[in-house]
Symmetry: C2
Subunit: 178 residues, 2 copies
């Protein structure tokens, strides 16, 4: 099962750091890649690429102007489209059936205002709580529930740095490949 | 068991939205309040207060200049200090003992650079994955694991708005109290 994240409605001025955090959370919690839509923002794309270069992958990062075409293309290819929104069905009610479905998944996280058509194009509108919070937290909790914590044991390939867990302080392994 | 979040090192210019998202995630995922340290930022405090006013509480929000005194005060009062950091012990290895411990908890999330002393003052340094991601996602996944999803059923009091989950579209209940 492949999982891609579609980050919609990125605005350079407001969302620079939030979209970066969405990308980092997508990678850390086991998604295979992120597609960013909205303003084209080279800084966010290169910040995320640098993280993959240093901390490993695979994790693909790309920009697409036309989010609607992205959704429709993935849908046609048999991917399940899951839109995370506070207005949807509570995650605990649907996570098991999502997990059981072996289809690849496109997980949509929006910015402030998501067009109504997204709710219709999505196979599922899922609420990670029905309270206002953050696309970053919604995505992370969704992925943690989807992978049931297996993402904690994911090995990233071609990493240059790796952390060795410590009770206190920091221990970083620098990997040198010939 | 009470849970407060201490957000350290807030910088007005960079962290405005990230700290707001930390506060929203803290509230949505069941924490009782947030203490913000770093730059004093009235905008973040009032954005969070407005959310509580509209979507309900209880959820306390306050600013404290001196984060070290906050940590030491809570520690002296018997609270467990849990610092979320990618360098710590993996969450799956410690979450059960954290859950079993009935003590109140102060959960620290830092910004870019956390002073070394925090790792020493903390009773536990916990890694929500050992990968770079976001204080917003780290906090949300930590709280979701701590409360084992019970936060999804939390009722907020004095809410003016409440969402009724829908398969498609949005349904908001406006609560009018006499």
């Amino acid at each position: 099962m492949k999982v891609y994240v579609l980050r919609m409605g990125h605005r350079i001025s407001r969302d620079k750091r939030i979209t970066t955090h969405v990308g980092l959370a997508a990678r850390a919690f086991g998604a295979d890649g992120i597609i960013i839509s909205g303003d084209m923002d080279q800084n966010v794309l290169s910040t995320l690429s640098k993280i993959v270069e240093v901390w490993g992958g695979p994790f693909t990062i790309r920009y697409e102007r036309d989010w609607r075409r992205v959704i429709e293309d993935y849908k046609r290819s048999g991917w399940k489209i899951i839109h995370l929104t506070m207005y949807g069905i509570p995650l605990p009610d649907v996570i098991e059936s999502i997990r059981m479905d072996p289809s690849d998944k496109l997980v949509i996280v929006g910015s402030e205002k998501v067009p109504g058509i997204v709710y219709k194009l999505a196979d599922l509108n899922v609420a990670v709580t029905s309270q206002p919070h953050s696309e970053v937290s919604a995505l992370a909790v969704f992925l943690d529930r989807l992978f049931e914590g297996r993402e904690f044991y994911k090995e990233f390939t071609s990493a240059k740095l790796k952390i060795i867990p410590q009770e206190r302080g920091k221990k970083i392994l620098k990997l040198i490949e010939g």
